[in-house]
């Protein structure tokens, strides 16, 4: 059972949740990212995700390690989907269990923020009027120090 994985298949939320439920968990915070149709005035028709798969899985594991360090009794599982996704499809499911609820919420939120910082996955929006790689691909903003904040080597 892989706690951190990238998949081409539909994500089964319950499968991710089951990976973190155990006898001393009292709370599970699950975050599910889904494909939204409207972003401001722009209408998404579908999305494509690609990943540097082996490194992305390692980086997801690293996020799990960071969570373990910050919230020692947390257990984390993350599945991110790649390929072509339609509106309302699940792109990512994060589950974190902890004995008490506050930690679960905080750790789950931490996980999604970190995914957006350090995991090599890219999203291309296919809008009704064109397409675009998301995430400052044009180099108009620079990462501080040439790398995303908080990346540790």
């Amino acid at each position: 059972m892989k706690l951190f994985n990238i998949t081409n298949e539909l994500i089964n939320n319950q499968e991710v949740i089951d990976k973190v439920i155990h006898h001393n968990a009292g709370a599970v915070s699950v975050f599910i990212g889904t494909v939204r149709e409207m972003t401001g005035e722009k209408q998404t028709r579908y999305l494509e995700y690609e990943a540097y798969v082996p490194m992305a899985e390692k980086q997801l594991e690293k996020i799990g390690d960071e969570i373990q360090e910050k919230w020692p009794s947390a257990k984390t599982a993350i599945t991110h989907r790649i390929g072509t996704l339609q509106i309302s499809d699940v792109a990512v499911t994060i589950a974190v269990s902890t004995p008490h609820r506050q930690d679960a919420f905080e750790a789950s939120r931490y996980a999604i923020e970190r995914i957006k910082e350090i995991v090599p996955i890219w999203k291309k929006e296919h809008y009704s009027d064109g397409e675009e790689w998301i995430g400052n691909q044009k180099g108009t903003e620079k990462y501080p120090e040439g790398r995303p904040e908080r990346i540790e080597k």
């Binding site: 990212g33 995700y49 690609e50 990943a51 540097y52 082996p54 490194m55 992305a56 390692k58 991110h80 792109a91 990512v92 999604i112 995914i115 957006k116 910082e117 350090i118 995991v119 090599p120 996955i121 890219w122 999203k123 291309k124 790689w133 998301i134 995430g135 400052n136 691909q137 044009k138 180099g139 620079k142 990462y143 040439g146 790398r147 995303p148 990346i151 080597k153």
Partner: protein, 79 residues
Amino acid sequence: MVQILLFASLAQQAGTRKISLELDTPVTIEQVRDHLQNQLGQLTGIENALIAVNEEYADLTVEITKGDTIAFIPPVSGG
């Protein structure tokens, strides 16, 4: 021989995701990057891409050696 991996907009511009490069002597990633642009033309955004060597983030100044895999990682947008 080293492997160079491109992703997202960089792969799209380059028209390829994977390039093999013969190395005579150790070179820095910066030198690899310059070489790539000579070969493929200007890749918009590559200046801003992060670098991973063998699946770990690395600095531009790192020297690479035979068997290494160098990935150019445009700003990520997962989640």
